[in-house]
């Protein structure tokens, strides 16, 4: 199973399938009989507007698989970068990008995934954080309903580094965000948040694997989402505390609201602990909006639609509240608000 090879060699037998334990809820081989033709390059200047426009002067574009392959943030620098991953047409493409954040540098990465058509796309990001470096990665995925897309991130942290992430997605035909973090402990901190708002037949998969490899690390994860109509959400979170990673503090929570009888949420939170003196907790809830609460709100005069959006907005808003960059948080909040308002 190798998605990059599947795309490059146009070999569907290499696609991940339900036989791969990690992919059993996001089966690509069963979905795609053939790999679409390679995407055509996208003409310069046709990217249009991006969701984080105006928040930074520096925008990198990866369009139909072409774009920069390496970015370096020098030690001590503070930068805000917009990274737009744009897919147009119904072809297949794959791209890989390495981002190095030097010691004590700070990077705010405003990443958007746009378009998608009926094609197949893969974006892989290798993120290296030097000692005491910090990176906040904020991802907004607004893809076409027919898109099939996988976005992977491999984060390697040095001691004292801080990596924070908030993913916000409306899903696609089939879509997966996989985040893998090598956590050295030693004062390093990780926040891995996610939000999904799914309707129609959209699918989103938030998968994360955090490996605590040294003592004294922290990981805090909060994923929330709503699934309406016939949508399907997948949450797979695994935190492994390796031998010797004593004193690790790891918390994981996933809370989902199911707004329709035909929507589905599959959740698998896993903690594997091989160290001592570890504080670990995970909590997972999947439920519906509470009818009693809805009646209470309607008795006070709120129409049902408004009552539902207010409940959903407050439920999801708590994840947005954890974002550190206020301007980007506002963009994500208004995007979310528009999605919820449109939900009915």
């Amino acid at each position: 199973m190798n998605l990059d090879e599947a795309i490059r060699l146009r070999d569907p037998s290499r696609l991940p399938s339900r036989r791969d334990e990690d992919w059993r809820w996001t089966d690509l081989r069963g979905l795609l009989r053939t790999i679409p033709e390679p995407s055509r390059p996208l003409a310069a200047g046709t990217a249009g507007l991006g969701p984080f426009d105006g928040l930074t002067e520096e925008t990198l574009i990866v369009a139909n698989g072409s774009g920069p392959e390496e970015i370096r943030i020098a030690g001590g620098e503070t930068r805000t970068l917009a990274l737009r991953h744009i897919s147009r047409g119904d072809g297949a493409h794959s791209a890989r990008l390495r981002i190095d954040v030097g010691p004590s540098a700070r990077l705010t990465l405003l990443e958007s995934h746009e378009g998608g058509g009926a094609g197949l796309s893969l974006l892989g990001v290798d993120l290296h954080l030097g000692a005491d470096a910090a990176c906040e990665r904020l991802v907004l995925a607004d893809m076409d309903a027919e898109a099939v897309a996988v976005v992977e991130l491999d984060a390697n942290l040095a001691a004292g580094a801080r990596f924070s992430q908030t993913l916000l997605t409306a899903g696609a035909r089939r879509q997966r965000f996989e985040t893998r973090v090598r956590h050295p402990g030693q004062g390093a901190e990780v926040r891995l948040d996610g939000l999904y708002v799914l309707r129609d037949r959209r699918h989103a998969d938030l998968t994360s694997k955090v490996s605590h490899e040294g003592p004294g690390g922290r990981t805090d994860q909060l994923a929330r989402g709503v699934a309406d109509d016939q949508a399907r959400a997948v949450f797979q979170g695994r935190i492994t505390v390796q031998e010797g990673a004593d004193g690790t503090d790891a918390r994981m929570a996933h809370n989902a609201l199911i707004l329709s009888d035909r929507a589905e949420v599959d959740a698998r939170p896993e903690l594997e602990i091989y160290a001592d003196d570890v504080a670990c907790a995970h909590g997972a809830t999947v439920g519906a909006l509470d009818d009693e609460v809805l009646f209470y709100m309607r008795q006070r005069g709120l129409p049902e639609r408004e009552a539902r959006s207010l409940l959903v907005a407050s439920f999801l808003g708590e994840v947005i509240d954890r974002i550190e960059s206020p301007a980007a948080a506002e963009r994500m909040r208004s995007w979310l608000q528009a999605r919820i308002g449109a939900e009915g």
Binding site: Y296, M297, Q299, R300, G301, E304, L310, G317
Partner: protein, 248 residues
Amino acid sequence: MLSLHDLHARVGDREILKGLTLEVPAGEVHAIMGPNGAGKSTLSYVLTGRLGYEITAGSAELDGVDLLSLEANERAAKGLFLSFQYPLEIPGVPALTFIRTALNAQRKARGEAEMSAPDFLKRARACAADLKMDFDMLKRPLNVGFSGGEKKRMEILQMALLSPRFMILDETDSGLDIDALRIVSDGVNALRGPDRSMLVITHYQRLLDYIRPDRVHVLADGRIAASGGPELALELERDGYDKYARAA
């Protein structure tokens, strides 16, 4: 004001209201007393439009408007308010935001202009002071982590800010100590007026020492079994509901 005629309601196969007839004229406060299981809470839910109750016969009108054909929020916009026996918690929504959103939804439904945030805040501060509530409490998510008594005060605060015309108080005294009961009752009494009416549902006579009713009705086995003046409440306190339970 409120006019109920031969109201029958059921939940599943169980008939709970069995021909309830009641008139509450404008400006009056009526108390509904009765044993547990008589249908007191069902009456409040049927009037306010909670789902799960099937109305099989009869009518319920507020100022000539058929309540039963309206959605719960439309009834609220017509001026109907229920102070819940067990108020619900709304995580993540500050009380002030919730009440202002509800008020403006009602005003919109009535074709009135929205109330501005400064005007609303001024009124909210005054109401909180009247009810001896810490204003900071209104900035917290509605009822989350509040004590039973605090939730009841929050109900009366919402009632004052929404200024409904017909109020149903469902067991408002439960969970209140004597001091809180006095404050809450003062808040309720302040809302009495010639254009407003109330239905006070209670199991005990105690609340009626503070909120003096014009009429008292005994609800037993889904019907009004007896009606009288305030002295009926004292009689019930002394003799209990046995004779009505038997008659039913």
